[in-house]
């Protein structure tokens, strides 16, 4: 019977235990608070029910009590806040050297592309025990990538990358849900995450692939003529892209930004938004000229120019931060 009537979701990622622990703590704390209130309510209601000739005793209030029941809850709340913040921070910070998967959401499907080149739709194969970083964008409306068994959710927003990561701990097939309402087939925008033992995963990976995503990106880079300006020496009209990814970049207006996925994406679609110090705003926009998949490949290529092991560094907080992404427009239009 309990196959049909689960009371606790499956736990299949490293984050799941952390979230559950905090959730259980919250259940205990709020359970105790509920008991305290309910028992007092019921006890007072019974003990002090109206009896003829027994008038109510007027009590004005008590400042010590007011302070007590403000400070104690506040203290408990701060513990919950801090704990929640730690769990969240961990889940928002992809470890270095994560395996990368690019996710493109659209009404009403998930398109997933491994950095190694495998493409999947509504299904993602990952190995047990490896950190997987999702670099996600949407072609149309806002979607949200939710895997209950991983206790992981991140909105997927058009016009920028959002990032999430997980490390699966248990082989199996788990629900992938879209949790941001996205139109008619919102509830049909579901899929599965297939977690495999490493050996099986390697076998699966050796199946059909178009070669690594960065190689595709390199080809597009050449086709679009990017290399005419972004030369691998210092003579180009655009910055040399070798080793740029993941590093701080000094801009013409004096700002220092980190070259993360959103920065590269924005520089391709809206080149005027952030001009590197010492360069002129001469690059044309590629908005509307390339697809999200091609864009992902280009990002993967630029990343690969910074060598293996560099890719995931320093991008986490910044990648999720809006200030690095949406501020486009003003300088260009």
């Amino acid at each position: 019977m309990f196959d049909n009537f689960p009371l606790w979701p499956e736990r299949a990622s490293t984050a799941a235990g952390n979230v559950d622990a905090l959730f259980i703590f919250l259940l205990i704390v709020s359970g105790l608070m509920t008991l305290l209130i309910f028992i007092s309510l019921l006890y007072f209601a019974a003990r002090y029910r109206h009896r003829k000739g027994v008038p109510a005793e007027q009590i004005e209030g008590s400042i010590p009590l007011e302070i007590t029941w403000s400070i104690i809850p506040l203290g408990v709340f701060m513990v919950i806040f801090a704990w929640g913040a730690v769990v969240y921070f961990k889940s928002r910070t992809p470890p270095r050297d994560s395996t990368e998967v690019y996710v493109v959401a659209k009404q009403w499907m998930w398109k997933l592309e491994h950095a190694e080149g495998q493409r999947e739709i509504n299904e993602l194969h990952v190995p047990v025990g490896r950190d997987v970083k999702l670099i996600m964008t949407s072609q149309d409306v806002i979607h949200s990538f939710f895997v209950p068994a991983f206790r992981m959710k991140q909105d997927v927003v058009p016009g920028r990358y959002t990032v999430a990561w997980f490390r699966a701990t248990k082989a199996g097939t788990y629900h992938l849900f879209c949790t941001q309402y996205c139109g008619t087939q919102h509830s049909g925008m579901i899929g599965s995450i297939v977690v495999m033992e490493p050996a099986q995963y390697e076998a699966w990976m050796s199946g059909g692939s178009n070669g690594p995503l960065s190689a595709t990106g390199e080809k597009i880079f050449a086709e679009l003529g990017c290399a005419t300006c972004h030369r691998s020496d210092t003579q180009g009209r655009g910055p040399n892209l070798q080793g740029v990814f993941g590093k701080p970049v000094l801009l013409e207006d004096g700002r220092l930004v980190t070259a993360d996925e959103n920065y590269v994406r924005e520089s391709i679609l809206d080149p005027g938004a952030k001009i590197v110090k010492g360069f002129r705003p001469v690059m044309p926009t590629f908005q509307g000229l390339i697809s999200d998949e091609q864009l992902n490949a280009l990002v993967a290529y630029v990343k690969s120019l910074s060598g293996p092991g560099q890719a995931g560094a320093n991008t986490s907080a910044a990648a999720a931060a809006p200030q690095s992404a949406p501020g486009k427009g003003s300088q260009v239009q």
Binding site: F5, P6, L7, W8, P9, L22, F23, L26, S30, M33, I37, L41, F44, A45, H50, K52, P55, A56, I59, G61, S62, E66, S70, P73, L74, M78, I80, F81, W83, G84, V87, Y88, S91, D140, V141, I142, R151, K153, D155, V157, P158, R160, H175, F177, C178, Q180, Y181, T184, Q185, H186, S187, G188, I190, A317, A320, A321, Q323, P326, G329, Q333
Partner: protein, 550 residues
């Protein structure tokens, strides 16, 4: 406490109900009490529309497959259930009905400060309501009540503009009501009615009005921007046009989170009055309960982005909004503790209004505590946009706000209608609502933690049993809501005439006949006592001993 039946009404006294007859005397009235009744009729109408949509939603979710209605229809159902319940029922509910009726009487005034503006606010509500009905009848809207962009501006092919404009107009009705209350409370208190003597119902409405005045213009502007982007393709929210979709969410929640307090604060005010009356006591910690309303109104404006923890805001922004959300929880907790402490050494009666008040405190406590889960960043990542959220805010808005509204309707019904409602039926209804509510929404907490997303038309089969329980609860709840409607109507014709003060309650509104005369008081009251002087009232009543049944 039973209702005193000793008082015999003289031959029908002139009152606000019988002074004038005819449709015109209602449609052009500037009497705050008649406007309150106009609102009562209108919001009840919309409540049953919203409730009907809810019932269809629950029936569709009885089975995992999408089989009762089309997917698009389902999306319109939950969208319009939300829009109708939020903008056409909950936001006006207590302020526009009970507030309109009681604020002038409680402060000892003849009417609100701007009686014509009060009537105008009802007309705006009706215009907005007609626009919303027209929108529903000609195809409806499917964006979710939240209008998230770019879905609403560029992708939905339903009547977004009409729905947006309807809510835009409804917003002005809400602003005008708030404005009227603030001016009335400041300028029209009777001699001796100091701020420290005001009923806490007034403090709650004062806090609510501040939010209505300061917050509502933001949603109005936001909806105009949505309409402008949809109609004229201005690039404000759509990234394809150079806009930022998260900007919409910031603007939307800047109003819509405080709007939750517009819905719950008046209910807290009602419950405070009821608890004081039925435990025959002063409210424990009057000034803390009063100031906590103001604190909620102020802090309420600083927590909006807790709706956006997984939307793509920065980790640091999330930390700030999380900690501020815990700050706003403290004044709510203070209220619950003070209500509970008020019962201590009281003389407690279990009439229907008090049962609703008990229900309110219990359900609001659960709703508030589950808010702690959602404000915890680490847990919100998992439960955000799932049924956990649905359950949480229904505990606040239905378990809290609606219980308070029903409690208030029972408490003041004798004053409003001049008739007594049948007490036994009312207690039964309160019990049915409480049980039906919990059966409907408690399973949704579990569903949410299991991972069932909100706004899902079909769902994996393992979620079915909990959904069936929830649907069963909804039918019980429907019975609980129909009952008061039936016996209130019944009592208007067959109910016993109500004495002026059936509950022996404190408060100026009880010192005038039931139903009150058009200008509320035969002579201007002069207040020489503190709020909730139940000791004095009971001491004065003691010699002849109040007849007691309950």
């Amino acid at each position: 406490m039973s209702m005193a039946t000793a008082t015999v009404q003289p031959v029908e006294r002139e009152n606000y109900l019988n002074k004038h007859y005819g449709v015109g005397s209602w449609l052009f009235t500037t009497d705050h009490k008649r406007i309150a009744l106009l609102y009562l009729l209108s919001i009840t109408f919309f409540f049953f529309i919203g409730g009907f949509f809810a019932l269809l939603i629950r029936l569709e979710l009885l089975t995992p497959a999408g089989d009762l209605v089309q997917a698009d229809t389902y999306n319109k159902l939950f969208t319009q259930h939300g829009q109708v319940m939020v903008f056409f029922f909950l936001i006006p509910s207590i302020p526009a009905v009970l507030g309109n009726f009681l604020v002038p009487m409680m402060v000892g005034a003849k009417d609100l400060a701007f009686p014509k503006i009060n009537l105008l606010s009802w007309y705006l509500y009706i215009i907005a309501g007609i626009m919303m009905l027209h929108c529903m009848l000609t195809g409806g809207v499917d964006t979710g009540w939240t209008f998230y962009t770019p879905f609403s501006t560029a992708f939905s092919n339903t009547k977004v503009i009409e729905a947006g404009l309807s809510i835009f107009v409804a917003g002005f009705s809400s602003i005008l009501t708030g404005l009227n209350f603030v001016v009335t409370i400041h300028r029209m208190r009777a001699p001796g009615m100091t701020w420290g003597r005001l009923p806490l119902f007034i403090w709650a409405h004062y806090a609510t009005s501040i939010i209505q005045i300061l917050g509502t213009p933001v949603i109005a502007i936001t909806l105009v921007l949505v309409v402008a982007e949809r109609a004229l393709h201005l690039g404000i929210f759509d990234p394809k046009l150079g806009g930022d979709p998260l900007l919409f969410q910031h603007l939307f929640w800047f109003y819509s989170h405080p709007a939750v307090y517009i819905m719950i604060l008046p209910s807290m005010g009602v419950v405070t009055e009821i608890i004081a009356c039925f435990s025959r006591k002063r409210i424990f910690g009057y000034s803390f309960v009063a100031l906590s309303s103001i604190a909620i109104a102020v802090f309420g404006f600083l927590v909006w982005a807790h709706h956006m923890f997984v939307a793509g805001i920065s980790v640091y922004a999330a930390l700030i909004f999380s900690i501020l959300s815990y700050a706003v929880a403290v004044p709510s907790a203070v209220k619950v503790f003070n209500w509970t402490a008020t019962l201590y050494k009281g003389s407690i009666h279990y009439d229907a209004p008090m049962l609703y008040a008990f229900g309110f405190v219990g359900l609001f406590t659960m709703g508030g505590l589950t808010g702690l889960f959602l404000a915890a960043l680490g847990v919100d990542m998992h439960v955000h946009d799932t049924y956990f959220v649905i359950a949480h805010f229904h505990y606040i808005m239905v378990g809290g706000a609606l219980m308070g509204y029903l409690g208030g309707m029972h408490f003041w019904w004798p004053k409003i209608s001049g008739k007594l409602y049948p007490e036994g039926w009312a207690r039964l209804a309160a019990l049915i609502v409480f049980l039906g509510f919990n059966l409907t929404f408690f399973p949704q907490f579990i569903l949410g933690y299991l991972g069932m997303p909100r706004r899902y038309y079909q769902y994996p089969p393992e979620f079915q049993i909990l959904n069936v329980l929830s649907t069963a609860g909804a039918t019980v709840l429907a019975v609980g809501y129909l009952l008061p409607m039936i016996y209130f109507l019944w009592s208007m014709r067959y109910g016993k005439p109500a004495p002026d003060n059936p509950w022996h309650a404190a408060g100026l509104e009880w010192k005038t006949p039931s139903p009150p005369p058009t200008f509320n008081f035969e002579q201007e009251p002069v207040v020489t006592w503190e709020a909730y002087n139940y000791d004095e009232i009971d001491a004065a009543a003691a010699p002849q001993e109040v007849p007691v049944v309950g």
